[in-house]
């Protein structure tokens, strides 16, 4: 079963444990500046929204790459950057409509979420369940259930 990161901003407290976990996994250092997931805060923190790559099936970044450095990991569904091939041209950063692939000037390559090879550390670190890693075909399950409850007034399951 393929899985996806499912993000529920309502549960996010903006603690940034996800950003630290991401940078630690990929760079070996606690460093939100190098995180591939970012939490955005609005209105003095009344809303906090974690945001990262959704791993598009027909990924703009993949199609834009002139050297085919971005390929799909068949096991996880993640679009992954092959650093040995990437030439740092940044065309993918222009092509991505969501801004979730970015250039890292330290390495001269682009970086993006790779789902940590199937064990995403942001979801592991999130203390509130705002980021979970679940069935890629049912990312709407929770919302669907909430809508059903709203429509029929049943008590939601745990």
């Amino acid at each position: 079963m393929l899985k996806s990161l499912v993000i529920d901003p309502e549960k996010c407290t903006s603690c940034l444990q996800c950003e630290m976990a991401c940078s630690f996994e990929h760079e070996g250092v606690f460093n939100p500046a190098k995180s591939r997931i970012k939490v955005f805060e609005f209105e003095h923190g009344a809303r906090a929204i974690p945001y990262t790559c959704t791993q598009c099936a027909e990924a703009w970044c993949m199609h834009a790459c002139p050297v085919e450095a971005i390929t799909k990991n068949a096991a996880t569904g993640a679009m992954e950057v092959n650093e040995a091939v990437c030439v740092g041209c940044k065309v993918c950063t222009i092509a991505c409509p969501f801004g979730t692939i970015n250039y890292n000037h330290d390495t001269g390559k682009v970086v993006k979420c790779d789902l940590c090879g199937g064990d995403p550390q942001c979801a592991e670190a999130c203390p509130t369940g705002a980021i979970v890693y679940s069935d890629a075909d049912w990312t709407g399950y929770r919302k669907m259930e909430e809508s059903a409850v709203a429509a029929h007034g049943a008590a939601p399951t745990a």
Partner: protein, 607 residues
């Protein structure tokens, strides 16, 4: 490792800055944050220097665990000599600024001298600029933060700044970071203002490494789980610190109308239930909870004000969410001034953050002014025509704004309660220790809290000791000195680690030691942390003694020592400081005059 090993020193007089290696001998003896900054302060300045003079030194300090995955790793402290107490001031804050300073590569930021013109610091890793602040001088914290981010086109900057209160020398002005987190107490913002420093803006890309990654992540996982499962943590997450208001109301330890009473009839209107109540029009004060950097507790509250409330009905600029009531703000704008209007309390909280003031000191000072007013010592002629009666939401919000802008009677309130009450010839009405106002706990009901207030090195404070369990159990002074002394040392070690005191809801020193041992060079044990805590406490004491304070300053106002509590579980009791203090001095290894003996200093390596 875990320390960055680097200190940024900025001389504001000359406009120069230099990065120096961290003194690792001191880091090993004082750990970080509060302890380490106190050591630097002691070595760098004459404790007798005027707090508002260029000779004072202002230090922003992170701890070794700041900016790591340890829960609550967003803490930093501002350490300096305080203008409210003329003693060492150590004010601790969360938010995201502290971790960002660490990510830029610095353990400490040390500010010396005084800039000839208003300036702000712009730090991105090794790049340090001292830039003109003319365009934001005279404006609020909120404006300054937005202006700096826009100016540098960098939304990733984290900003700590002062408002007009800090510029104009309100003695309890604070440093506010990330819009509504603050190094709140003891007037550290006034010191920043006296140096003509408006703000520090920082972005860091260096990150933080630890000694043993695997061991550290294991320790972090274990301690996070303990925290997750603890009842104290659950209460903080669900209700916030204001859960305390119901407990104190029931117990009879809730300071009301300048400590004339210990229970408040309006508690139900400002407690967590009132914050969560949905009104007929759908309005609800509380919107959500919010975490500081790295925090898996998230005790912070985000609230908003009813758009039809008198405070903002004609001021649409305040129709946004911001920091909501925590226990100390609820106490300071509620019972102690007799106000039960939750929107007025929330608005006063906005004003504190916007203008950069300590809500505890402001509320307690206003409550003393209200007592002076009701006694007829001051009249509407003194108070710009505003009747300062207990219970007046208008007096609360108007005076909060006047003090924030340093206008009219706000200039008098800006002196703090001690100087204000002395000015009007009624010093006994000031509910302070060493010039700093009490937090929201009455020391007749909570005896050990009274000893903690009396002996705290930064003046009256509820956060430098933890005798709460013992205080709730029995209401005599017997047996309180030992837990007070021991918890003071423990808290000093916790503060020096770079983590939040609220983790002690689930963790003891062994949990801190486990995380530090995996993160930092050397061996870190519970025993070592205890010794560091005691060393830090005694160093702060040495600073204060050198500054001219004496045992006579370790006392409580006559209302606590002579006037019995009028109701509650402590009805008829006064604080038994005279029982506790001599025992405390003895346990500390101090003389009867409150001076550490030669043996004590030698034992702690402080001679």
């Amino acid at each position: 490792m875990s320390w960055q090993g680097k200190v940024l020193r900025v001389n504001l007089t000359d406009g120069t800055s230099v990065a120096e290696p961290l003194n690792m001998d001191w880091a090993n003896d004082y750990l970080g944050e509060r302890g380490l900054a106190s050591k630097y302060l002691m070595e760098m300045m004459d404790p007798k220097a005027d707090a508002m003079s260029p000779e004072n030194v202002l230090i922003f300090a992170t701890g070794p665990l700041t900016g790591t995955m340890a829960s609550t790793s967003g803490r930093y402290a501002v350490v300096t000599k305080g203008p409210l107490t003329h003693a060492i001031a150590c004010s601790n804050s969360g938010g995201k600024f502290g971790a960002e300073l660490k990510f830029a590569g610095y353990d400490l930021l040390i500010l010396e001298g005084k800039s000839p013109q208003p300036v702000y610091l712009h730090i991105v890793d090794d790049s340090v600029e001292i830039l003109p602040a003319d365009e934001i001088w005279g404006t609020t914290v909120w404006n300054s933060e937005a202006w700096i981010k826009a100016k540098h086109q960098n939304p990733l900057l984290k900003v700590a700044s002062i408002g007009e209160a800090g510029e104009k020398g309100v003695r309890y002005a604070c440093v506010v970071n990330d819009l509504h987190r603050a190094a709140g107490r003891s007037g550290v913002g006034a010191v920043m203002g006296s140096k003509n420093l408006k703000a520090v803006a920082v972005h860091g890309t260096v990150g933080v490494k630890v000694k043993d990654h695997k061991a550290f992540m294991e320790a972090v996982k274990k301690t996070k789980k303990l925290l997750e499962e603890s009842d104290g943590r659950k209460e903080l997450t669900e209700l916030g610190t204001n859960a305390m208001i119901d407990a104190m109301q029931e117990f009879g330890g809730l300071p009301t109308r300048n400590f004339q009473e210990v229970q408040f009839e309006g508690t139900d209107k400002i407690n967590p239930a009132a914050m969560a109540k949905v009104h007929a029009d759908g309005h609800k004060n509380l919107l959500t909870n919010k975490a500081c950097f790295g925090c898996t507790i998230a005790c912070g509250r985000i609230a908003h004000i009813d758009k039809n409330h008198f405070t903002i009905v004609n001021r649409p600029q305040y129709r946004h969410a911001s920091g909501g009531l925590e226990y100390e703000t609820a106490y300071a704008f509620g019972p102690v001034v007799g106000v039960d209007d939750i929107d007025a309390l929330t608005f006063a909280g906005y004003l504190m953050n916007e203008h950069g003031m300590d809500p505890i000191s402001f509320g307690a000072t206003l409550s003393a002014a209200m007592e002076l007013f009701e006694l007829g010592v001051i009249t509407e002629e003194d108070t710009d025509g505003i009747p300062l009666n207990f219970g007046s939401a208008e007096a609360l919000t108007v005076m909060a704004e006047k003090t924030g802008k340093y206008e009219g009677f706000g200039q008098i309130l800006g002196l703090g309660s001690k100087l204000m009450c002395e000015k009007y010839g009624r010093p006994e009405l000031s509910m302070t220790v060493k010039g700093q106002e009490f937090a929201g706990y009455d020391s007749r009901a909570l005896q050990g809290m009274g000893l903690g207030y009396a002996t705290s090195n930064r003046g009256a404070c509820h956060l430098k000791h933890d005798v709460f369990a013992e205080d709730m159990e029995d209401q005599s002074g017997q047996g309180k000195a030992k837990p007070c002394k021991e918890s003071q040392d423990k808290v000093a070690a916790v503060d020096s680690s770079g983590l939040c005191l609220f983790t002690t809801a689930a963790w003891g020193l062994p949990e801190f030691a486990a995380q530090l041992d995996a993160a930092c060079e050397g061996e870190w044990t519970e025993a070592r942390l205890k010794e560091i805590g005691e060393r830090v406490w005694n160093l702060e004491r040495q600073f204060n003694l050198a500054a001219g304070l004496t045992a006579a300053d370790d006392t409580l106002p006559p209302r606590m020592l002579e006037v019995p509590a009028p109701s509650g579980t402590a009805k008829g009791k006064v604080n038994e400081l005279s029982v506790m203090l001599p025992e405390y001095y003895k346990l500390r290894g101090w003389t009867e005059a409150g001076v550490p003996t030669k043996e004590t200093l030698q034992r702690l390596g402080l001679s």
